[in-house]
């Protein structure tokens, strides 16, 4: 099997349990894999959580990791996908001095062109929100850096797959 590494988006459907995040992250830690991002949320199925984990490894490695994740008692199903098989987004927030919004006309253009959204404005600062691909967020970050950013944070990836997730129909049919 190829030794080439890829970025994989891992989607894990689980019962909602306090200790599960530890169990899942320990699987990566034990094998010295860095988790690039991890997001946990509700899923499309009531009472079922969904972890979205982004990792870089070979396909052979990700297959073994999926096996270890699915082995956990409270994991219902785990999948892995390449970037081209998913629609994925990240989100970020910038906190910037309000003065700049009026003094630097360029900033207004950057906001418009990047499809970023102003979440709030007050006398001191304004907060800008941008969702999109990593590359778009990085571009916006570079552009705004020139003017000074008070605070910046970026979320982990969230993703849905292009193909249907078979888990949805299967679990929907289970009577609780």
């Amino acid at each position: 099997m190829s030794k080439k590494t890829n970025t994989y988006t891992v989607s894990v459907y689980t019962e909602n349990n306090i200790g599960l995040l530890n169990r899942i992250s320990a699987i990566f830690q034990r094998r010295h894999f860095n988790i690039e991002s991890l997001n946990s949320s509700l899923s499309e199925i009531e009472g079922v959580s969904r972890f979205t984990i982004v990792v870089e490894m070979t396909e052979e490695q990700i297959k073994k990791i999926i096996g270890q994740i699915e082995k956990q008692v409270e994991v219902i199903k785990a999948y892995y996908h390449r970037d081209e098989d998913t629609i994925y987004q990240e989100s970020c927030l910038f906190k910037i001095k309000s003065d700049l919004l009026f003094e630097e006309r360029q900033i207004q253009n950057i906001i418009k062109e990047s499809n970023a959204r102003i979440v709030t404005v007050n006398k001191e600062y304004f907060v800008l929100e941008k969702s999109g691909r990593r590359i778009e967020i990085e571009l916006l970050h570079r552009e705004l850096s020139a003017f000074g950013i008070l605070q910046f944070t970026r979320s982990g990836r969230i993703a849905v797959t292009k193909e249907p997730m078979e888990i949805s129909q299967k679990l929907a049919s289970i009577k609780q």
Binding site: E15, G19, Q68, E70, K71, V73, E74, I76, K170, I174
Partner: protein, 578 residues
């Protein structure tokens, strides 16, 4: 890979509602699960449960070990010989952390065990209270499942799940941590056994197509080799397994944990694979045309260098745990499911075969190993006693009917290589984790679970001293285990590696030992020390004739080595005979 089948949660009511404390509920849950003995050690945060155990002592036997680690190994020994779930109990903090070695051992050796720990009251959680430790966090990587209970009402459902998870599918340890307030709180108790969990598919359904592909490969093979593991024992598939190998005439070798699933003297039993296994099955792993792995996981001690492991052969892997497929060795055909069901389905598809010429190769290589290794081990002519001749003396007296509980190291390899087994579940040893100190407490549990069987612990002088305090448990419970310490005054396996790979620099491996017989006698355990060959037979006979527990120390040669050996990183076919 077959998709996970989801099972609806079906529960059957077996105990009807009454208002009781959480602590009493715990004991009632254990009784409902058929627990007759548990091993543990009391302390502050578990005292309400011990108070209930006092009341229920006619129904459930609590064995006070001398250390919580001993409690886990005793529970493991109990589980390994009986197939039932072993139970260990401890208090919070150090009581709980002392369980970890046994839990890790049970996890890697797939032993069904439920550990119950007390925890500080829920309002103190996270406050660094006295004897508070995050045992759920600590035990997560070494448990099949774990859970913390903070309300009494959770107790029945969680304990029911614990037993179900520990025993079903590929078994393993489960830890349930219960806060002290949940033990005291009163609630309406009702117990329902757990029979399924939505997210958990313990036994994948056997795929008929995989069975047929496996049968085709087996029927076409000229030089097939079976390597079986503990999956045959855990799946209670011994009969189905024997029927399959007998019909297809396949030479069959075992991993250390698979030992005793097939009688040692069965003509198709070609011995142990792995680092100190037998010569023929190791060497011929790299000559077979079909490797049939049954309920085993291709541990590195079994395979040696994976790049040179059975590369010429097609591989069929019968396995209950999907994550083991292709983990270490790529399977051409993977048959998921329990060994019992898979092998029963396979049998009718197999052609009758004998593979006479192929068998002859195993016999020829056995003859080589016999001349170079076995003869010297079992019938030595030099002065010093060998570990092998002690095992052989035990074989002669027990005729293969005893359960052998071994510790870790040279004596373990010798005990596993040379012990004769007629019955399944007879070889109890710490295989995956290699836990020194396992044998003495494990033998206690094994003997309690199988009082009609002879249970003989074979232990080195190093490992013995790691859990030697369990002599106190033996004295107090009067459990009649036989203890054989093979004393070479060294940490023998490490010394062997130092001799072979570290230019004989014996760093911290020589032991200055105490008077072991006097220590045993201090616990009122009969015993003697043997230093000469002429005394051995009589001493073993005296041990076996003794009604109670017995301690036998045999002073063996100080610098004996275990051969054959596959050095770390070498190929199975490069096994050294000397």
């Amino acid at each position: 890979m077959k998709e996970t089948q989801t099972i609806e949660r079906k529960q059957e009511s077996i105990v009807s509602a009454t208002v009781i404390s959480g602590a009493e509920a715990i004991v009632k849950c254990l009784l409902a699960e058929g627990v007759d003995v548990l091993y543990g050690y009391p302390g502050g945060a578990i005292m309400p449960v011990y108070d209930e155990l006092y009341k229920y002592e006619a129904k459930i036997h609590h064995v006070l070990t001398r250390h919580e680690q001993g409690a886990t190994h005793s529970a493991q020994g109990y589980a390994r010989i009986s197939g039932k779930v072993g139970v260990a109990m401890a208090t919070s903090g150090p009581g709980a952390t002392n369980l970890i070695t046994g839990i890790a051992d049970a996890q890697i050796d797939s032993t069904p065990m439920v550990c119950i720990t007390g925890q500080v009251a829920s309002h103190l959680l996270g406050s660094d209270a006295f004897q508070e430790t995050d045992i759920v966090g600590i035990s997560t990587p070494v448990t099949k499942w774990n859970h913390q209970i903070t309300k009494a009402s959770e107790i029945p459902e969680v304990i029911a799940k614990a037993f179900y998870i520990a025993k079903s599918g590929r078994p393993g340890p489960v830890l349930i941590d219960i806060t002290k307030d949940a033990q005291i709180e009163k609630f309406d108790f009702e117990y329902k056994k757990c029979t399924g969990i939505r997210s958990y598919n313990p036994e994948p359904a056997v795929d008929a197509a995989a069975i047929s592909q496996a049968a085709q490969l087996i029927n076409a093979a000229k030089k097939p080799l079976v390597v079986w593991g503990q999956g045959v024992i855990l799946g209670e598939a011994e009969e189905e397994f024997k029927a399959v190998i007998e019909k297809a005439g396949i030479p069959s070798a075992w991993t250390i944990l698979g030992a005793s699933a097939l009688a040692t003297k069965h003509p198709l039993n070609v011995g142990m694979v792995g680092m100190h296994g037998n010569y023929a099955p190791n060497v011929l792993t790299n000559e077979c045309d079909l490797l049939i792995a049954i309920g085993m996981r291709f541990d590195d001690r079994v395979t040696g260098d994976l790049k040179k492991y059975a590369k010429q052969a097609k591989v069929i892997h019968f396995e209950i745990d999907p994550s083991e497929i292709d983990k270490n060795v790529k399977a051409d055909v993977a048959v998921l499911g329990s060994a019992k069901q898979s092998l029963a389905l396979l049998l009718p598809h197999l052609n009758i075969n004998t593979h006479t010429e192929w068998h002859q190769k195993f016999k020829d290589l056995y003859a080589v190993e016999y001349e170079k290794v076995i003869k010297k081990d079992l019938y030595p002519t030099k002065e010093g006693l060998t570990m092998g001749e002690v095992i052989q003396e035990i074989n002669l007296l027990t005729k293969g009917d005893a359960a052998i509980v071994s510790d870790v190291g040279q004596h373990q390899m010798i005990a596993c290589r040379y012990s004769e087994f007629n019955k399944t579940k007879s070889n109890i040893t710490s295989g995956g984790l290699g836990t020194m100190g396992f044998a003495l407490p494990a033998a206690i549990g094994a003997k309690m679970a199988a009082p009609d069987r002879d249970v003989i612990a074979i232990i080195g002088d190093g490992g013995y001293q790691m859990t030697i305090q369990e002599l106190g448990t033996i004295f107090q419970t009067k459990v009649p285990v036989k203890i054989v310490v093979l004393n070479n005054e060294f940490l023998g396996m490490v010394r062997q590696w130092q001799e072979l790979f570290f230019d004989k620099r014996y760093a911290s491996t020589e032991l200055i030992n105490p008077n072991f017989v006097a220590i045993a006698k201090g616990y009122h355990i009969e015993g003697q020390k043997v230093t000469k060959r002429s005394e051995l037979k009589g001493a073993v006979a005296e041990m076996m004739a003794c009604d109670g527990a017995y301690f036998l120390e045999v002073c063996v040669e100080k610098q004996g080595n275990v051969f054959p050996m596959i050095p770390t990183g070498a190929s199975v076919s490069d096994m050294r005979l000397s």
